[in-house]
Amino acid sequence: MSPTTTNKSGPIPAKAGIGLRFPHHQIVLESKPDVAWMEVHTENYMGGGTPLRYLDAIRRDKPISLHGVGLSLGSADGLDIRHLERIRQVAERIEPSMMSEHLAWSVVGGTYLADLLPLPMTEEALDTVCRHVNQTQGYLKQRFFIENPSTYLQFAHSTIPEWEFIAAVAARTGCGILCDVNNVYVSAQNHGWDAARYLAALPAAAIGEIHLSGHSVRTMLDGRELRIDDHSSRVIGEVWALYAEALKLFGPVPTLIEWDNDVPPLEVLLQEAAHAQTLLDRATHKRHHVDAA
């Protein structure tokens, strides 16, 4: 619909970006905030009407990443080809600089369970995810980036550590990895993993994006704390520290601030992005230093 020549093209820069949500459509269009790129949830721009008109307009100034939440790459039943087609239609119109989905599942028996559900970390699940990533990349003729999830459960029959699972998906399919540092922290805390070890096990060359967000802490019936990835607050200090570690391992990577519930004024997102940018600048500086030496 929109003329392709007017879109901001090229890759997502290795800078800080923000997740664009409906409450900020108008102010982003009017104020043109100084942020390098934006990401939206693909499912929010299916069909037609007002949301797409905003995105058409914003897309002219900023590179956009399409981040899906409903493809269900881990479904034993197979991919919903109609959903893949809906994604393709959004991509055709928006011409995203990047596309991503989650290492998760949400559809079984024709029912959409409206959440990013945990996979058993088994060879069967690995084969299933790889098959679906290949199918997706083939259908959309674009490289996909797969995000590590935050999880609250572990299955007794899991045999592969999550970091090895996601590295294997990247190795087998050629997809990239979207490393959600908050999710690494949340899952590591919930399951007693070593977050630094998780990051170190990921193939640095495959990391194309980092996500950062806030999470909450809840005390469960057994008296233990559970970290809930609810995207409704600022990034906590421990996650910023882990992010700095991630940048040492991966080098400067496009970094997104996500906020989905109790969405604050745009200013707050920009502050968080500015902080991420400070850490990115340090990492870039250090990298140049190393390159020069």
């Binding site: 499912e43 069909g47 079984v108 959409y112 369970l113 959440d115 996979l119 088994t122 459960l153």
Partner: protein, 266 residues
Amino acid sequence: MSTLLETQRAMQASLVAADDRATFALLSADVNPDRINIYRNTFLMTIIKALRLTYPVVLRLVGEEFFEATAQLFATRYPPTIAYLDQYGGGFAEFLRTFEPATGLRYLPDVARLEWAINRALHAPDEEPLDLHELAAIPAEDHGRICFVAHPSVQLLRLDYPADSIWRAIVDEGGDAALASINLDAGPVQLLIERREAGATLSRLEQEQWRFAERLLSGASINEALGQADGIDVSETIAEHLASGRFISFALTAHEPISHSNHLRY
């Protein structure tokens, strides 16, 4: 060892039917089973939120507590079938019609039907309206053979209760006085709902206008639709539909025209 499908069916039973037996059997020994509640809550909250967005006027009419409970029941009985929640909840009106606690509000299902039509209009695909120059190329004697393709945002609805007045009273913040002034027994209303720049618009049509529009919008030729056109100015009516962008294309039916009158004014 449980297969992937068995694991996913177990979690489906947990989330949709609150039956955790199969999931519990699959969890690592050190995982407290109440963690499954995190997923169940997200599933329900996400779907209830989708229903709140689609049915804000129903929500206002029944109140928060009643709506949440009703939406949760609907969500577990009729969970979404696709990962595109803007298309979820079309059966809510029918659910309300037979939902005993809601039957006291006899107009509620009609309000829900209206809100579903508005939702469909708002999320319909974008299509360019018909270019009138294309129509100008059709000779007058062939006008009766024209079959229009409707813009996907255009919805026609016939309701027993004046749900449009109720909708407007709520949306315009008219308060109880505005609601109280509505005569619920004034008879059926015929509505045309469509998406415009500023959002969804609702128009009331006379019965004949509505029937004619229903024929035309469902792809009948102008000649075929004329059977439903008693007492209306067909040229003027079609001109208004065209000017409002309610058609995106047209085709000509093969059969011979039965009327040579010029029905098009544009």
